[in-house]
Symmetry: C2
């Protein structure tokens, strides 16, 4: 494991690390923010999954999350969005291939060898983080856009593993929305396979009752066709889940939106992680 | 004047505008954050000057300034760092030419035709802003690195024009530090000409007593050779100015440092602008 960056930030440290990952068979990078409270003892962790076209850098540079993490004493771990490097398969367009893993474990060639971001995010990365950093095993998860979808499916597929889950402008039903191209490529043509990785389908089938915090800008150009929060509302009603959905007037899909509301999400997770 | 971007952010709007500037004889871009308070009436303006290699984007994307501007009701105007476009002179290296105006009015060819960022920042841009946006004529100025130098010389050369001035990791004496290459190119070989644009020389010669707020990371790799806050301290003592210099343990030169302390600077300026 190699530390690539270390910057003092809001009394703590924003670091970037690289390591050879087994799940994705390549070097992976992730950001980790260590709040000042780690000086006094281990802190709980909020995992944050980013969206299409992002690396581990966008969220740590543009969201301002560190201020809130320092206020609440949370470690923030923000992985890259796909495998990277020579030989990693890619495709034309922004919504499949590099930076577009959709946080699934692909079953179809050529993706299946390395596009195993779900295993990476849920198992390998937390094991690494919990071994090397001053953290407890209390975990929560959040994400933006494709990463909001990622956070939802991580929580839904692994009941009890996360204390809380939230999303900013999530792709609510990837198989019906922004993942319509990626899902058949990664998972094959059988819609039954897609349902295991679609947040709305998982919500309808879940035995656990989940509480979700979601923020969504109402001026987001991707809202109706690609994000589909209406489907999330219906699935939560059908599955008996509690959805706290805030439709934010005038906000779009970018980091000015994320920065405006990430503080609410950190506070929400802090409350669950310290309960 | 053309609006290139508009994003809801912390209850206000982060915009980016382009216009044909007279001072620099090219199209110039600037960011303007309008806090929610402009709905109720005009707000005072904090000008923020960025450092080497930056455009108008870095500060508005990475500093998190909008949260504090929304809290205090300040408009934030953040210009680009040099003239841009076809035919604008440039040179090898990061510390002269594009993104490296040093906020002077160049007197030497080929720079003198367009590298007139001082006139742009002090006169042309405020006139434009005060004509087109809901602002008062109360102005303060701040900056980072080369922009910290810029803020200091703007305030020192135009007594009474700004209510307050502050800097994050400023180039304190450009002619002796990070401007040693740019100053002779822009201003010629006569050191007397440099003194009119060097913050420390201006502080020593100023009849007004200035109050300065400065933050500086003590792990900044440019501190001793290029930033030289020791020279600023001596010049303030010699000129009878009040310097509130915070040396921040462990902080480097980048935006994680800026983000950590910009809130203090916005609060400082808000207090002067609303007095």
């Amino acid at each position: 494991m190699r530390r690539l960056e270390s910057h003092a930030c809001f009394g703590g440290t924003q670091e970037v690390w690289a390591h050879d990952a087994t799940s994705t068979a390549c070097e992976m990078r992730f950001g980790v923010y260590l709040p000042p409270q780690v000086q006094a003892g281990p802190c709980p962790v909020l995992y944050f999954l980013s969206g299409l076209t992002c690396t581990e850098q966008n969220f740590i540079q543009k969201s301002g999350v560190q201020r809130y993490a320092a206020e609440h004493g949370l470690v923030i771990v923000s992985p890259d969005t796909s495998p990277r490097g020579d030989g990693v398969p890619d495709a034309e367009g922004d919504d499949i291939g590099l930076s577009a893993s959709f946080y699934v474990d692909a079953t179809q060639a050529p993706w299946s060898a390395q596009y195993r971001m779900h295993a990476y995010v849920v198992q390998e990365l937390p094991a690494l983080v919990e071994q090397h950093f001053p953290v407890t095993d209390a975990r929560s998860i959040a994400g933006h856009s494709m990463g909001g979808h990622g956070a939802l499916i991580c929580a839904l597929r692994h009941p009890g593993r996360y204390r809380s889950v939230s999303a900013l402008a999530p792709i609510c039903s990837a198989s019906r929305g922004w993942g319509r191209k990626a899902f058949p490529a990664y998972l094959g043509d059988d819609p039954d396979a897609w349902r295991e990785w679609d947040a709305c389908d998982l919500l309808r089938g879940s035995h656990d009752r989940l509480s979700l915090l979601v923020d969504q800008g109402d001026a987001d150009p991707f809202l109706a066709e690609r994000l589909q929060p209406d489907l999330l509302q219906k699935a939560c009603t059908a599955g008996g889940h509690t959805l706290d959905l805030h439709l934010r007037p005038g906000y779009d899909h970018g980091f000015y939106f994320v920065a405006s509301f990430i503080g609410d999400h950190v506070a929400y997770h802090a409350s669950a992680l310290k309960a």
